[in-house]
């Protein structure tokens, strides 16, 4: 009969109205500033740089290889390499970024920089409350603002961080072994050793870290400067 469809619809809205007072399914609002939706473990917003030491600038894992700069689809990363080198977490002499800027107002949160980084140095943060009245001052972030500790990374992405920590631990173990061998041999030139280490670094698992079966030694997280500088 005419009108039954309309009445059925009205019953449905009435159910929702009444339900909103007792059924959480029918009142889905999360009152944002006070309540928050739990962050998903995989959630990503903007990249940050991981550092391992107390001093963020000393412990940056980034070696300014500029792969992310090249691969970044919207090209929002700007890196200037250093002229000198310093020891990284494995004790190897590496370049470091003098300037590492990310223009958040361009970043598309695609995570490709994270995937292509061979050094586990850049990761995705979950912070989203970044709205700002100042376009250049507020949204162009430099390496000081980008640097966040590995603890932070472990807090926001525990599973991912464990995998990355394990991979780094293997790297460190390898580097230690190599350094030991170097010390024992004492024959090879320092340059030769460096070349080998570089080769080892290049063969490091890239991007497959999430899927490749990684052996899990219960080694501590990458300790910077644990190995003596070659």
């Amino acid at each position: 009969m005419l009108g039954t469809g309309i009445l059925k619809g009205m019953v449905e809205t009435a159910k929702n109205f009444a339900g909103s007072y007792h059924d959480p399914e029918r009142l889905t609002t999360v009152e944002y500033p006070e309540q928050r939706i739990a962050s998903k473990e995989n959630a990503r917003q903007f990249p940050f740089l991981v550092h391992d030491t107390e001093d963020p600038m000393q412990g940056l894992r980034c070696v300014a290889c500029q792969i992310c700069e090249k691969e970044c689809p919207p090209q929002c990363i700007y890196i200037v390499k250093s002229k000198d080198k310093r020891a990284d977490y494995k004790g190897q002499m590496q370049l470091y970024p003098v300037t590492f800027d990310i223009d958040l107002s361009v970043c598309m949160s695609c995570q490709i920089c994270v995937e292509v980084c061979p050094f586990e140095a850049i990761k995705m943060d979950t912070e989203f409350e970044l709205s700002n009245t100042d376009r250049f001052g507020g949204l162009l972030v430099n390496k000081h603002q980008l640097a966040k500790s590995n603890e932070h990374y472990r807090k926001i992405h525990p599973t991912e961080a464990a995998v990355s920590d394990d991979a780094l631990a293997i790297e460190v173990a390898k580097a230690k072994a190599k350094a030991k061998a170097d010390v024992e041999a004492k024959a090879k030139a320092a340059a030769d050793a460096k070349a080998k280490a570089e080769a080892a670094a290049a063969a490091a698992p890239v991007g497959v870290a999430a899927t490749a079966p990684v052996p899990k030694p219960s080694a501590p997280a990458a300790a910077p400067a644990a190995a003596p500088a070659a």
Binding site: G3, T4, K8, G9, T13, K40, E71, M108, A210, T211
Partner: protein, 398 residues
Amino acid sequence: MDGTQFMTFHDLAYDAGKTDFQRKAEVIGVGREGELLEVAMGPQHPSTHGVFRMDVVLDGETVVKLKPVFGYLHRNHEKIAENTSYLGSMPYTDRLDYFCSLTNNWAYALAVEKLAGLQVPERAEYIRLITAELTRVLNHTCLAGFLLQDMGALGTPLMYAFREREKILDLFESLTGARMMCNYMRFGGCRCDLPAGWLAEARKVVAEYPKFLDEFDALLSGNEILMARTQGVGKLSAELAINAGITGPMLRASGVDYDLRKVDNYGIYSRYPFRVPLGDHGDVYDRYMIRMLEMRESLKILEPALKDIPEGPVVDPKAKLRGFRPKPGEAYGRIETPKGELGFYLISDGSPNPYRYRVRPPSLINLTILEDMCLGQTVADAVITLGSVDIVLGEVDR
């Protein structure tokens, strides 16, 4: 110059082009400019689903001419992709049809896999199927909401649709990290494996979804106003639909049985028996109902697929992430996205960037016959006809 002449216009099969356009010219001209009202609906108009413009000529409220105007969201996706690596284009495909980023990913990945000859592991195929069907459900849900919004239902159906959308987006976010722009698929598989507990969550969402569909049906499918508004409006004949290259639910609402999931048998769709609903009238109501039915069929695929999913790797170990350079050649890969056939045509010259990167957007081509469907009807009909085409401007203009 009576209205009836146009009423039958869309029923004619498309015959060799000439007559149609000549008739259009006749319809438009004849010196009635003073009596007719020209309205440019859009690019900012509440019902054009984004920045789309319809230049409408009205006789009273009857549409006598309707010219779609595009390009307000032409953001040069193809040009940018030709200057970016194959991988770098993947996040851009998310932004084509921004409701269905995962099916866009799949279509692009499929084309590249054809170009480079990559195999996809079993588990990845399952994940692709599951995410694609979830995307289909998501898209159709939102479309139903938007269609009703266009019909003036002041947000309630849209709110219910978005309530369900959030549930699926939660799944996407915990799998891929982002709500809308998933950037999840890779050439030869998927980016990462399912997180712990994801399958259980997904099963729960899928199991509860019919409840929402029933609610939506009760709310609107039998509503007299909805039936009166949509039945017999925006009719499209099967012949014209085929000739105009219409795809997706819109084609099937006109009664043509053509679903790429069945025709191309891509992925692992052949393992799941699902039915393809067909309409007989090709009007807005059919398009709406076909989508409602397709959602139920998608759920029928999802339920067993979520049970059957095997263990294993999710990406082809041969696929390279950096320095990916397919051999020179070309490939056209297409899949059935919620809106129709989404194809990617790639020409490789052996460099890291595609030489030519072309998107075959279903939304744009489904708009080809918008004028034919709207002529002789009122503005309100034109609005819901446009709504039933299901366009997303990111894909129309690219």
